[in-house]
């Protein structure tokens, strides 16, 4: 037996299940705001994901024993289910999850080989193919009336285009104290879950901090320059999928950059792109596309941010 003869005992399933555990607060808040719908979506996504993974492994002639038990595909499924609106028809979620697992993950070679975040691949395909259903969010309850209304980011986009100022838009429906009504609580739950993961060293601080900074700094600058046209940093951090993205989506290790410096740039890039897409782009929330765009940049980041080896001259 070669050295080392001891190991720390971290395993992939343990990591994955702790991530799932950290997502429970987010799910709970969503159920509180939107009713039992999200639970069903999570269940549908999980079942679909496991089935697709088994199918893909069979097609690739690999054993499915350990692969199905490692939990990585469940994380993809739950993230996707939490990212889509709770009113989404379940068969669309099946389609999205299948795309995420079969194309986003297995077409590239399975665990550890995907260059793109599989959940975001599924989300982007759904968003582009079914824009109406994917942007129909219910008014947060209780009560859960299934009445739909504009999300805060929607309202800003439309309101500004119609000539209202930020203050006027903020006074309207769909806004909570800090950010979007409802969404601000989801973001808080994601922050709590993420902080727990950080404390347990499951994820490292570089990507979340960099992403939130990349989102907050341009937001604050723009808000300072033109408060009427741009919401502030706190609003951006508390709306849409900001926190979920920072702690759960962008931190997917397989599609993220490798070195610490690379991760800082990667996270900052996602934050910046999210702000740009939210402020000037056609979609209300930019996290999914920002993540996919930065996934494209990862090979370049990896090449350019190799850390200095002990004994190499300090540049």
């Amino acid at each position: 037996m070669p050295s080392p003869h001891v190991v720390a005992g971290y395993t992939v399933p343990r990591v994955m299940f702790q991530v799932l555990l950290a997502l429970v607060p987010v799910l709970a808040v969503q159920v509180y705001l939107f009713g039992p719908g999200p639970l069903g979506l999570v269940a549908v996504a999980c079942v679909t994901a496991l089935a697709c993974e088994a199918l893909a492994l069979a097609l690739r002639r690999r054993s499915s024993q350990s692969a199905l038990r490692d939990g990585s595909v469940l994380v993809t499924a739950v993230l996707l289910a939490l990212a889509v609106p709770p009113l989404l028809p379940w068969w669309l979620l099946v389609f999205g999850t299948a795309v995420a697992v079969l194309i986003g993950k297995h077409a590239y070679g399975g665990l550890g080989q995907n260059p793109f975040n599989p959940a975001m691949v599924g989300y982007a395909v759904l968003l582009v193919s079914f824009p109406l259903e994917m942007t129909r969010w219910p008014v947060p309850g209780p009560p859960w009336d299934a009445l739909t209304g504009a999300t805060a980011l929607d309202a800003i986009g439309n309101g500004l285009r119609q000539g209202y100022t930020m203050e006027e838009v903020r006074a309207g429906a769909g806004f909570g104290r800090v950010g979007a009504a409802g969404a601000e609580w989801v973001n808080l739950a994601a922050l709590a879950g993420g902080a727990w993961l950080l404390g347990r060293r499951i994820i490292r601080w570089h990507i979340p901090v960099a992403m939130l900074a990349g989102l907050a700094v341009p937001a604050a600058l723009a808000h300072g320059l033109d408060p009427g046209a741009y919401p502030g940093a706190l609003f951006h951090l508390a709306s849409g999928a900001a926190m979920l993205g920072a702690f759960f989506i962008a931190t997917d290790p397989v599609s993220a950059a490798t070195s610490d410096r690379g991760r800082l740039i990667y996270g900052a890039g996602i934050g910046l792109l999210t702000w740009i897409i939210r402020s000037w782009g056609g979609y209300p929330d930019g996290v999914a596309f920002a993540v996919l765009l930065m996934n494209l940049a990862v090979p370049l980041l990896d090449r350019g941010t190799v850390p200095r080896i002990h004994g190499q001259p300090r540049r």
Partner: protein, 486 residues
């Protein structure tokens, strides 16, 4: 005195050193049959100079050192039975097997050394003749190292008492009990290598050792010596990392510490030097930690080189029936080498015998693909990216392994330890290095063949040219003689 923390990554590991340190170091009797491996841990074999049947005494040289192998001396008096292959820590190697006559007669030449009267070069010669080798594990000849240091003009002698492996505590015991020897050895080595000062570095989880060393340094009254405390992080005891932690200077890639003005020696080596000057004894014993849940009474033993490990384990009460051993490791839990049998002999490089029971070795899960979590890079003390390196090694990509620093890997095992996918990174890197070495040899052969081919072509061209000129000459002469007749 001062605690400086300069180490990227690394691991803080749970220590398993308390039980062996509960009692003082126990001296073992000399073995009835001494098995002296010609390769004492450095990777190179010394040259046996005694034939079977020769009579030897304690301290008689039995092998002449060459390259990375130091001189080897007999720990017993008796007769050489054979010079033959035997199982050793490194697998198998040629060993000089000596049957003891039980009388322990010493070589008459072994006398204390008036070291203060000798100059550096003479001291180094005596150290070489005594077969002193690095007791930290590498077993490199001490004299050779000091000579290199002297030639490079080092200004600091760094004594390594860090002992960062969680199960090994032989150096801790030595520092507690023989601090005066270590200080004396340091002073002798200062004279040998010409350094201006000496620093004894140890980790802060050894308060008794620190107290003993500071007392010994104070008693010696030599202002050139000091004791420095470092945080207990694995693998701070690795030479290059220790130099960087204590001096702030990094040894350049591919170079040795004398390049930055430092020479490192293990504290055990220093104690061995002291024993040479006080008693005239060559390198014959060393302290070995015998530990692990699989042995009844873990303790530190002062064992004679050449003692079979079975005798060490027997001195510790034998194997524990309640926790049967599942693996025998020579060295520590992270960098040690698994042994195939307990019949191997003690060598100068053997610092610990870890008799590991199942409870000591966490089970390894089946290997999974790399999920690029980056934990390995976070703990690598040398600043490598093990996941990228692994990819390059698997692809046999020479440019990639050079870029990601395969040559700089110290095989500490930190990356393996934290990998959630249970990838045997250290073993892969070791194999990868071997493959790269062979590729390098192939490339060299190809380059030589190309050069010879070009010389061959040049030779043929010159020959053809010479023939042509001779022909032209002959034709010119023929034309000059007669009118085109021949």
């Amino acid at each position: 005195m001062s605690a400086r923390a300069v180490l990227r990554g690394g691991l803080r590991l749970e220590s398993h050193k308390t039980r062996p340190l509960e009692q003082p170091v126990q001296r073992l009797a000399a073995p009835t049959t001494a098995v002296l491996a010609l390769d004492q841990g450095s990777g190179e074999e010394a040259r046996a100079i005694v034939p079977p049947g020769a009579c030897v005494r304690v301290g008689t040289p039995v092998a002449a050192g060459r390259g990375a192998a130091a001189d080897l001396h007999s720990p017993v008096s008796g007769t050489v039975r054979a010079v033959e292959p035997r199982p050793t820590v490194g697998g198998a190697g040629t060993c000089v097997v000596i049957d003891s006559d039980g009388r322990a007669e010493r070589e008459p030449a072994s006398r204390p050394l008036a070291w203060a009267t000798l100059d550096g070069a003479a001291l180094i010669e005596r150290l070489a003749a005594a077969g002193l080798a690095g007791l930290g594990g590498a077993a490199f000849p001490t004299a050779g190292k000091l000579a290199l240091a002297r030639a490079a003009g080092v200004e600091l002698l760094l004594l390594n008492g860090a002992e960062c492996e969680p199960w090994i505590c032989c150096d801790d015991a030595l520092m507690r009990e023989c601090a005066a020897d270590i200080v004396l050895g340091a002073r002798v080595m200062l004279a040998a290598c010409g350094a201006a000062r000496a620093t004894i570095a140890l980790e802060d989880d050894k308060p008794e050792a620190r107290a003993a060393l500071e007392a010994a340094v104070a008693e010696a009254g030599d202002e050139r010596l000091e004791v420095v405390l470092l945080p207990a992080v694995f693998p701070l005891g690795a030479e290059g990392l220790l130099v960087a932690a204590v001096t702030g200077r990094e040894v350049p890639q591919g170079a040795l510490p004398p390049e930055v003005g430092v020479v490192c020696q293990n504290v055990g080596t220093a104690a061995g030097v002291a024993r040479l000057v006080t008693a005239g004894l060559p390198a014959l014993t060393r302290i070995v930690t015998v530990t692990g849940s699989g042995v009844r009474r873990p303790m530190n033993l002062e064992a004679w080189i050449g003692t079979p490990i079975t005798e060490l384990i027997a001195a510790c009460g034998g194997y524990d029936d309640k926790q049967p051993p599942v693996r025998l490791v020579a060295g520590g839990s992270l960098t040690g080498r698994a042994l195939g049998s307990d019949a191997v002999p003690v060598t100068k490089g053997l610092n610990c015998v870890l008799v590991a029971a199942a409870s000591d070795l966490p089970a390894r899960t089946t290997e999974m693909p790399c999920i690029r979590c980056g934990d390995c890079a976070a703990v690598c003390p040398v600043g490598l990216l093990p996941q990228q390196l692994h990819r390059a090694v698997q692809a046999d990509d020479a440019a990639g392994v050079a870029r990601f620093g395969l040559a700089d890997c110290i095989e500490c095992g930190c990356c393996d330890y934290v990998c959630p996918s249970a990838i045997p990174l250290t073993a892969r890197f070791r194999a990868g290095r071997e493959r790269q070495r062979l590729h390098e040899a192939e490339r060299r052969r190809a380059a030589e063949a190309k050069a010879r081919y070009e010389r061959h072509r040049r030779r043929l061209d010159e020959q053809a040219e010479a023939e042509r000129r001779a022909f032209e000459e002959a034709r010119r002469r023929a034309r000059g003689d007669g009118a085109g007749d021949r």
